[in-house]
């Protein structure tokens, strides 16, 4: 039974990746998860320098989901390669480094630094964080911005390059296309949905940043649809995410067109879920006589509709 998947030149042992922003720098979870058993670990978004992020409250729970506005608190790329990367390397984690910039030059500088260090498997370009004013999403919400930042970083690193796309646009597929044309190796989608929650008694926002990003099972059907749309638009591998919590959710994203998936919010609820997901995927492969999991990607059968729900 082969669970491996290919993201450009990078082969992952399985399609499960810990999503950036939901897994610290990976080392925080080394006590509860064998990091080498994951397909990959996307570490928390890094700027060139350290950042403190937003004041609390930074999260609030909403129906079947949560809002966050952390504001990309982080240690910066220099401390990351010094303090975290060696341990990740020792633990044989497949490290995908999520990077953020306020300018194209900053993205390039971080990519250059990472390219000089062993143990970085790929770079995920964060052009989609909804919670910071400067940079990031300003690239991700403009087709030319997306193209420019991807092609600039493409020129400075040989590492697989994976722009992470925002769902907060009219047509995500056109952004996937812009990334593909600019030389990306894959795309990650989706980041969180811009959202807000209000305390009606105090009439105050529940987040210090007023607005934040919605994640969790609440967004899953929208994310599946967006992966499906992008699958039609590009040939690039897609790293699908948005509310994945069970093996069926993983399989749903893959059938919609994802080559691999990322898991974020569900890891907060159950940090031990990785083995359960892998077991569930294997059981599915046995039942459906699938020997190579990657063959499942993009196999949505649109000729027929599922009607079982009518009687269920």
């Amino acid at each position: 039974m082969d669970l491996s998947v290919a993201i450009g030149s990078l082969t992952l042992a399985n399609p499960l990746i810990a999503a950036s922003g939901c897994f610290g720098y990976g080392v925080e979870y080394a006590d509860v998860v064998d990091l080498s058993l994951l397909g990959g670990v996307a570490v928390k978004g890094l700027f060139l320098n350290e950042r403190e992020g937003h004041p609390p409250p930074r999260i609030v729970e909403t129906p079947a989901g949560m809002l966050n506005a952390i504001g990309l608190q982080g240690i910066g790329v220099h401390r990351f390669v010094r303090e975290k990367l060696p341990e990740l390397r020792d633990r044989r984690a497949v490290v995908i480094v999520n990077i953020c910039g306020t300018t194209i030059d900053e993205y390039c500088e971080i990519a250059r630094i990472l390219s000089d260090h062993a143990g970085v498997a790929a770079i995920e370009l964060n052009i989609s964080c909804p919670n910071i004013k400067e940079g990031g999403i300003t690239f991700g919400c403009s087709l030319t911005g997306t193209h420019d930042v991807v092609s600039a970083v493409r020129k400075v690193t040989p590492l697989p390059l994976i722009p992470k796309l925002t769902p907060n646009v009219t047509d995500v597929a056109s952004f996937a296309r812009a990334a593909e044309e600019a030389g990306a190796d894959a795309v990650s989608l989706v980041n969180t949905f811009l959202a807000m929650a209000i305390d009606v008694h105090t009439r105050r926002p529940k987040l210090s940043n007023i607005v934040g990003g919605l994640s969790g099972p609440a967004i899953r059907p929208i994310a599946v649809r967006m992966v499906y749309e992008c699958r039609q638009a590009v040939k690039l591998p897609i790293l699908g995410m948005g509310g994945i919590a069970t093996a069926d959710d993983v399989l749903e994203f893959m059938i919609a067109g994802a080559t691999a998936v990322q898991i974020g919010t569900a890891n907060f609820v159950d940090p031990f879920l990785w083995k359960k997901l892998l077991d569930g995927i294997r059981a599915y492969m046995t039942r459906h006589e699938i020997t190579r999991l990657t063959e499942l990607t993009g196999t949505l059968d649109t000729a027929k509709r599922e009607t079982a729900w009518i009687s269920s």
């Binding site: 922003g21 939901c22 610290g24 509860v32 609390p56 930074r58 729970e61 608190q73 907060f268």
Partner: protein, 274 residues
């Protein structure tokens, strides 16, 4: 290393309309627990509410031979998750991930330990009192609540040799008003040469007041902070507390792994949500 168990509910004891104590069969968690640590509880299956909630480990439950069999949680009903835990039936199951967090450091005799609790902030002090008792450290509990009915488990502390000092806002038991008044008086009565450490847990304004009293009397105070937490393991960066270290800019520290116990002089209280 924390573990996750689907713990059976041994009992659910209602203390009042707001407070209850839930006993969980979780010997593995109980065995590992150190004073002041917490667990992340998922009070129901399903996705609404989605996230776990942090709870101090209240008591370590033991069999007659003294072997750990589980833990209990002191719960105050405030929202959806704590409401579910208030109503959880005996025989039900809850997800219990832990133990987590930086524990209290029990001070050694001849120094004295003074624990200062406000309301549900009593929760981390049973395990601390046990550790202090094991070290022969003389211990007092300054314990304040709104009304007499909210002052619970005083006898448990007395049975461990802890001397209680009580206060209620309505004066129905102990001193009338906040617990900080009798604490101030007691601090003033101890000679400087006698070593003493304060441990505080409760509403933020109370902990801040205790921290300021401790500083004015030249005493160290450790506080156990309760923040909104997403994961409990350092993954989400939601439970941060703004701290200071001499010579550096204020810095957000994750209270799940950097705390929940902090030296009170590190806390920038104005930045703490309450």
């Amino acid at each position: 290393m924390p573990i996750d168990v689907e713990a059976a509910v041994i009992s659910n004891t209602r203390l009042s309309d707001d407070y209850n104590v839930v006993a969980l069969a979780a010997p593995e968690v109980a065995l590992l627990a150190r004073p002041g640590q917490f667990v992340m509880i998922k009070p129901s299956r399903g996705i609404d509410p989605l996230l776990r909630r942090p709870f101090s480990i209240f008591e370590i439950l033991r069999d007659p031979g003294g072997a750990p069999t589980g833990i209990s949680l002191l719960n105050k009903r405030i929202g959806a998750g704590t409401g579910l835990l208030y109503d959880v039936p005996s025989g039900g199951r809850v997800g219990c991930l832990g133990p987590l967090g930086r524990p209290f450091e029990p001070i050694e005799s001849p120094a004295e330990a003074w624990m200062v609790a406000g309301g549900v902030g009593l929760a981390p002090f049973v395990t601390l009192a046990e550790a202090l008792k094991a070290r022969g450290t003389k211990t007092r509990l300054f314990y304040g609540a709104r009304r007499a009915a909210d002052l619970t488990y005083v006898e448990l502390f007395e049975s461990m040799g802890v001397e209680p000092v009580l206060a209620t806002e309505d004066g129905s038991r102990g001193a009338r008003g906040f617990i900080t008044a009798p604490l101030d008086t007691a601090l003033a009565a101890v000679p400087r040469s006698h070593d003493l450490r304060l441990y505080a847990c409760g509403p933020t304004p109370m902990m801040r007041a205790v921290a300021e009293l401790a500083a004015s009397h030249g005493r160290r105070c450790d506080v156990s902070l309760e923040q909104v937490m997403g994961c409990g393991l350092g993954g989400c960066y939601s439970c941060v507390v703004l701290t200071r270290t001499p010579g550096t800019a204020p810095h957000f520290v994750r209270s799940c792994i950097g705390g929940p116990v902090f030296d009170a002089t590190r806390i920038l209280w104005d930045a703490l949500a309450h």
